[in-house]
Structure formats: structure tokens, C-alpha cells
């Protein structure tokens, strides 16, 4: 789960990590009120969207008059931010963070993450902050410092000093940096974060250390023990289908194509998208109905798939393990009644109770006059689905008998 910058900074502040004074606003007049309460002569206005690369997309502005605060806030709220991470559709700015501007002497990069190889946490630091770390890794890999941290032992101050030294920070800054790094890690580990990125962490003109930005993601699986973090979830950042899917415990990601997929299991769901592509088609989505799929979940999955107007074919690919094919078949029949006539349904069932499932599907489709195409294997069904999607002529459902 992604946190907004202002949410992450709120958490950091409660751990004694220095962050600029500021406040969040959803209207221009709010923004003005925040700026006035902050006093000072210069402020930074930052769009609060879940996407990196905001700065380049016009989502970060420095202003030096109250009138400018108001104007920039007016212009930024409601604007669409398009970056590498948002895709072409972009993200609408619904909130902005207004902060007192900081006097920057030096920019540092700092992040914490879960390292799969060592199976420990890792801190990554670089004296070349303020730019994308991927660029630094490519152009100047020696400028990046990495250290493992055991979640049992924590980040000792000595490690912080070592990292600071490796980055070439002034001796006078070692203890300050170590203190901030250790507090940041504590905040990271206490909240079951998967990633915490501070870019940049800055040294100010007064030789203080301040976190200018904060990107934080928290382990979805650990939200049960962080109710306050769960409350911070911003459903407005998700697509409506993703929100619906999450309510019904389905995993959904929308794509560009016209073949909607409903599959059990994440691996098979990805493989289904891949096989569609290998036959020259384009998947409209990733959708994993999970292990507990029943009639209702199948109906809901169909509804979510059909909210995408691009979808011409719904491809159901189920390999029953825990999931029973007979239950899926019943669900598909129920859901099919609500599918408009110009959309095709292709079903492939295999595994637990497959015979019963196929029989239910055949008989039910015949009885209710539904046109449901079936395939014996994944390849067979995928090929049919692609064929139907490419067939531009909409086919009307015909009443049988």
C-alpha cells in the first residue's frame, strides 16, 4: 500500500525525524491558510499523488508570495500529472502539500527496502541525491552505499556513521546523520514498510539534516496490525475497478487490450495473458479470482471485467485445485445472463470436478440460450478467444430451440 508524502512525513515526524513544517490542503484557500500559518517568505507546493517524477511533470513548485501560493494551488489542484509511473492516463491532483521552503546545501539519497537475496532489510545511500537513483546506479555505481540491516538488531548508530563516512559527509554531520537514519529505520520497521525512500535528504545551510521528500509503501499483508495505516488508504488513487475488486478480495489490474480474463491463481492469470498475446491478441486485464472462488465471486469478476468498454471477449481459464469447476460453471452461467449480447464468453475448465463443471456449462448454456464457447486446453480456448476478439462483427446471442 502506497502512502502519500504528507502521510509518510506525519509518521516520520512522530519518530523525531526532521521534516519541513507544512500542511495538506485540498482547496486553494486552504493552501493559503497553511502558508500564512507557516509564516516565512518561501514555500513549496507539492502535488500529492502516488507517482514518482512529479517534479518534472509540474507537480512541485516553489513560490515566494501569498498571491502565488493561491494561484499555483488553484492551478495545481485538479490538474493531471503524467509521469513514467502513471501511464498515459495520468493522475488527478486532489490534494497538495504546502511546506516552508528549505535552504539546501547538499542533497543525499537514502532508502530502506526488503532485500530478497540476503533476506534482510537494506539501506541504500548516496551522496548524489535529488536525482533518480537508477541513473546514479548506471553512471556512477561507486557513489552508492549499501548495508544490510537485521530487523532483529536494528540500525545501530555506528552503522549510520559508517554510511555517512562512506558517502564522504563532513565529520560534523556523522552523528546527526546516524541519528536520523536510525530513527527512519525504526519508523520503517515498526510499520512493516516494504520501502521508504527519502530523496532528497538535505543538509541545510545551518548544517542540519532534513527529509524533503518521503515515499513509503507498507506491506499489505501486515495491515491487520496497523489499523491507523489502513485508514490512510486512498482509494481515490486506484481505478474504480481496482477498488471494486479489492472489496470482493479479487486481484485486478487493467490493461490495454480487448480480451477480459478471469483466472484462478496469479501465475496462471499471468500465463493466460501471455498465451493470449502469443496468439496475437491483447489482454484487457489481469484478474485472479483466488482460491475461494464461488458463484458470487465469479459474477462480481464478470461485472468488473465488463466495466471496461474495450472488452469484446471474456476468457475464463480455471484449473481447479481448491476451486471446484462445478461451482465455477454455475457462476459463469449466472454471470453470463448479465453479459450483453455483443460480448463473447470463452471458457476453459480443468482439474477438480471438471466433468461435472463442463456438463453443467453445456446443459445450462443450451437451456438458457447462452452462447458460451468452450475449449479443452488452455491453448485451444485462448486461440478461440483471440479469434472472436479479432472478429470485429458483433455476434448476437441466439435463442436455442
Amino acid at each position: 500500500m502506497y502512502l502519500h508524502e504528507f502521510q509518510a512525513k506525519g509518521l516520520l515526524r512522530s519518530y523525531g525525524v526532521p521534516v519541513p513544517d507544512g500542511g495538506v490542503a485540498s482547496t486553494a484557500s486552504d493552501a493559503l491558510r497553511v502558508a500564512k500559518s507557516l509564516k516565512g517568505e518561501k514555500w513549496v507546493i507539492k502535488a500529492q499523488v502516488h507517482a514518482g517524477g512529479r517534479g518534472k511533470a509540474g507537480g512541485v513548485k516553489v513560490v515566494s508570495a501569498f498571491s502565488e501560493v493561491y494561484d499555483v494551488a488553484t492551478q495545481m489542484l485538479g490538474m493531471k500529472i503524467v509521469t513514467k509511473q502513471t501511464g498515459d492516463e495520468g493522475k488527478i491532483v486532489r490534494r497538495i502539500l504546502v511546506e516552508k521552503a528549505t535552504d539546501i546545501k547538499k542533497e543525499i539519497y537514502l532508502s530502506f527496502l526488503v532485500d530478497r537475496d540476503s533476506e534482510q532489510h537494506m539501506i541504500i545511500a548516496s551522496s548524489e541525491g535529488g536525482v533518480e537513483i537508477e541513473e546514479v546506479a548506471k553512471n556512477n555505481p561507486t557513489a552508492i552505499v549499501k548495508e544490510h540491516i537485521s530487523p532483529v538488531l536494528g540500525l545501530g548508530l555506528f552503522m549510520g556513521r559508517k554510511i555517512a563516512k562512506k558517502m564522504g559527509l563532513d565529520s560534523a554531520l556523522l552523528n546527526k546523520f546516524a541519528d536520523v537514519a536510525s530513527r527512519l529505520y525504526q519508523c520503517f520497521v515498526d510499520h512493516d514498510a516494504m520501502m521508504l525512500e527519502i530523496n532528497p535528504l538535505v543538509v541545510t545551510g545551518d548544517n542540519d539534516i532534513v527529509c524533503l521528500d518521503a515515499k513509503m509503501t507498507v506491506d499489505e499483508n501486515a495491515l491487520f496490525r496497523h489499523p491507523k495505516i489502513e485508514e490512510m488508504k486512498d482509494y481515490g488513487e486506484l481505478e474504480p475497478q481496482e477498488v471494486r475488486a479489492s472489496i470482493f478480495d479479487l486481484s485486478y489490474v487493467s490493461m490495454e487490450g480487448n480480451i477480459g480474463c478471469m483466472v484462478n491463481g496469479a501465475g496462471l492469470a499471468m500465463a493466460t495473458m501471455d498465451i493470449i498475446k502469443s496468439f496475437g491478441g491483447q489482454p484487457a486485464n489481469f484478474l485472479d479470482v483466488g482460491g475461494g472462488a464461488d458463484v458470487n465471486k465469479v459474477r462480481e469478476a464478470f461485472k468488473i471485467i465488463l466495466t471496461d468498454p474495450k472488452v469484446k471477449v471474456i476468457f475464463v481459464n480455471i484449473f481447479g485445485g481448491i476451486v471446484r469447476c462445478d461451482l465455477i460453471a454455475q457462476g459463469v452461467l449466472k454471470a453470463a445472463e448479465e453479459v450483453p449480447g455483443d460480448r463473447h464468453i470463452v471458457v476453459r475448465l480443468d482439474g477438480t470436478h471438471v466433468k461435472e463443471g463442463r456438463q453443467i456449462l453445456d446443459e445450462g448454456a443450451h437451456k438458457n440460450g447462452l452462447s458460451i464457447v468452450t475449449g479443452d486446453t488452455m491453448a485451444d480456448a485462448a486461440e478461440k478467444a483471440v479469434q472472436l476478439a479479432q472478429d470485429s462483427k458483433p455476434v448476437k446471442k441466439t435463442k436455442a430451440g
Partner: protein, 292 residues
């Protein structure tokens, strides 16, 4: 022969009283798995479907001689259950539970690495392990498997079933099939299992199914090139997955440039692995490399 589990494996079910635990324990028994006990804290001394229940793993092991456990405990307590199995020094612990916090798994792995226990872990968030005809420790449909010579290792559940079915339909059975799980932090990984398959006389070829995210497949490829003498067929799921979006599994998210399906497929091909582009070609490729 086979790897990890066989007809001598004596299994304890952790979380036998839950609906999942009870349901799958019954399916495993039907398959012929030797289930000797259940562990449910607070319910020691009772029986569930004729299986004796103990309060602690220590007791279960002492009274039944169990050497393996399977975990169906809910996510909040599952890591603790795994640690109990590790503490009891079982040979193998299979953790089915989905949704365990990563931090909990980091602690489990820390304990396994720094302690003296010999326990090997499979999972979490996996379908388990099966040696067809001998022992099923997991939630996979037993009937699609047949005893044979192909080892299967996969991050996925249902995609593994797909591979098994295809391999079977080309007339090849399986030595042992392992779902290693789709989480970022797991127990046994590809290389650990490939090493076992290398020394397993019954196994003639291995199917390795991977997916986007992480570096595990690429590392496995490098290891195969140096150390593995048997043919490996591989499919990597997620060729069409967009960057930055999590595809169901917590581990399946493209974060850098190196963990895309295509990058992994290229790396594996360079290491001499037979990579198929379509998931429908897994069985065919196995038949081809085994030359039958």
C-alpha cells in the same frame, strides 16, 4: 527415489482444527499421506477425524515420531507456527498460508540461518509438495499427478497444475513437484531444489516455472549452467505484465529493468535452459528434450 517427501514421511498438521486444515488433511489422507498428528495449541488430548491432537510440536514429535509438518495456520500466527516446527528440528515444514507479513518471514529466516535446526521450509503462500503415488503435502489436486521422471519447481499454484497436466498428457510422470510460493521471502528456492534433483536418480528432467519480479530465476539459470547435468524446461509468466503493478503475488511486481519476463527468459536461454514462450508448450518441450 524422489526428493523431500516419500512414503516414509510422517506428517503433522499445524492448524488442524481450522476449516482449511481439516479439509486438506482429509484430502491428504485420502491420497495416502501418512498424517500422524495435529498441533493446535489449547486442544491437546483431543482427536480430529481420528488424528490425535497435541498442544505443542515438541509433544507431537515425541509421541509420534513425526518428521515433517504442514502449516494451515492463519497469517497473523503462521510465522510463529513455522518457528515452532524449526525449533522442533523437523526435516521439513511446508507453509501453505497466504498473506504472512514479510517482516515475520525475515525473522523466520534469521532463526533458520543462525540456529542449529536442520528444518527445510517450503513456502509460504504455496501449493506444497507432492511425490506422486507416495506423499502429498499440500493443496494440489492429487489425481492429475502420475509417478515418473520429471521434477517440477514453480512459484505458482495453478500454473504448476497446468504444467503437471501437460507433462502427464505427453506420457511423462513426475518425480516430485514443488510449489515454492510467490512471496518475496520464501524457504527453499530454485537452486536448493535443483541441487536435490541433480542427485535424484529418478529425475531425468526438470520444469522450472518462474514469474516476473526478483532475480531468483536468473540466479537459477547461472547455477544450472555451472552445475546441473539434466535438461531444464522453463516458462516465465508475466510477459505482458506492466511495470510497477503487482500481479497478485506479493513477489510479482516489476521494479527494475532486470526482473521482466523477457530479461529472465533471455538469461535462462543463455544458460542453456529450454525456454518456452507459450505456457501451452511446456509439455511438448519436455517430450522433445527427453527425446521420446
Amino acid at each position: 527415489m524422489s526428493i523431500l517427501v516419500n512414503n516414509r514421511t510422517k506428517v503433522v498438521v499445524q492448524g488442524l482444527s481450522g476449516s482449511q486444515g481439516r479439509f486438506h488433511a482429509a484430502r491428504m489422507k485420502e491420497y495416502g499421506t501418512n498424517i500422524v498428528a495435529g498441533v493446535v495449541p489449547g486442544k491437546g488430548g483431543t482427536e480430529i477425524d481420528d488424528t490425535p491432537v497435541f498442544d505443542t510440536m515438541m509433544e507431537a514429535v515425541r509421541k509420534t515420531g513425526a518428521n515433517a509438518s504442514i502449516v494451515y495456520v492463519p497469517p497473523a500466527f503462521a510465522a510463529d507456527a513455522v518457528m515452532e516446527a524449526v525449533d522442533a528440528n523437523l526435516d521439513l515444514c511446508v507453509c501453505i498460508t497466504e498473506g504472512i507479513p514479510v517482516k515475520d518471514m525475515l525473522k523466520v529466516k534469521r532463526m533458520m540461518k543462525t540456529g542449529t535446526s536442520r528444518t527445510m521450509l517450503i513456502g509460504p503462500n504455496c501449493p506444497g509438495v507432492i511425490t506422486p503415488g507416495e506423499c502429498k503435502m499440500g493443496i494440489m489436486p492429487g489425481e492429475i499427478h502420475t509417478p515418473g521422471t520429471v521434477g517440477i519447481i514453480s512459484k505458482s499454484g495453478t500454473l504448476t497444475y497446468e504444467a503437471v497436466k501437460q507433462v502427464s498428457s505427453f506420457g511423462f510422470g513426475q518425480s516430485t513437484c514443488i510449489g515454492i510460493g510467490g512471496d518475496p521471502i520464501i524457504g527453499l528456492k530454485y537452486i536448493d531444489l535443483l541441487e536435490m534433483f541433480e542427485y535424484d536418480a529418478q529425475t531425468e528432467a526438470v520444469v522450472l516455472i518462474g514469474e516476473i519480479g526478483g532475480q531468483a530465476e536468473v540466479k537459477a539459470g547461472e547455477w544450472i549452467k555451472q552445475n546441473f547435468s539434466k535438461p531444464v524446461v522453463s516458462f516465465i509468466a508475466g510477459q505482458t505484465a506492466p511495470k510497477g503493478k503487482r500481479m497478485g503475488h506479493a513477489g510479482a511486481i516489476i521494479s527494475g529493468g532486470e526482473d521482466t519476463a523477457l530479461a529472465k527468459m533471455e538469461a535462462l536461454t543463455k544458460c542453456g535452459v529450454h525456454v518456452v514462450h507459450s505456457p501451452a508448450d511446456i509439455g511438448k518441450k519436455v517430450a522433445e528434450v527427453l527425446g521420446k
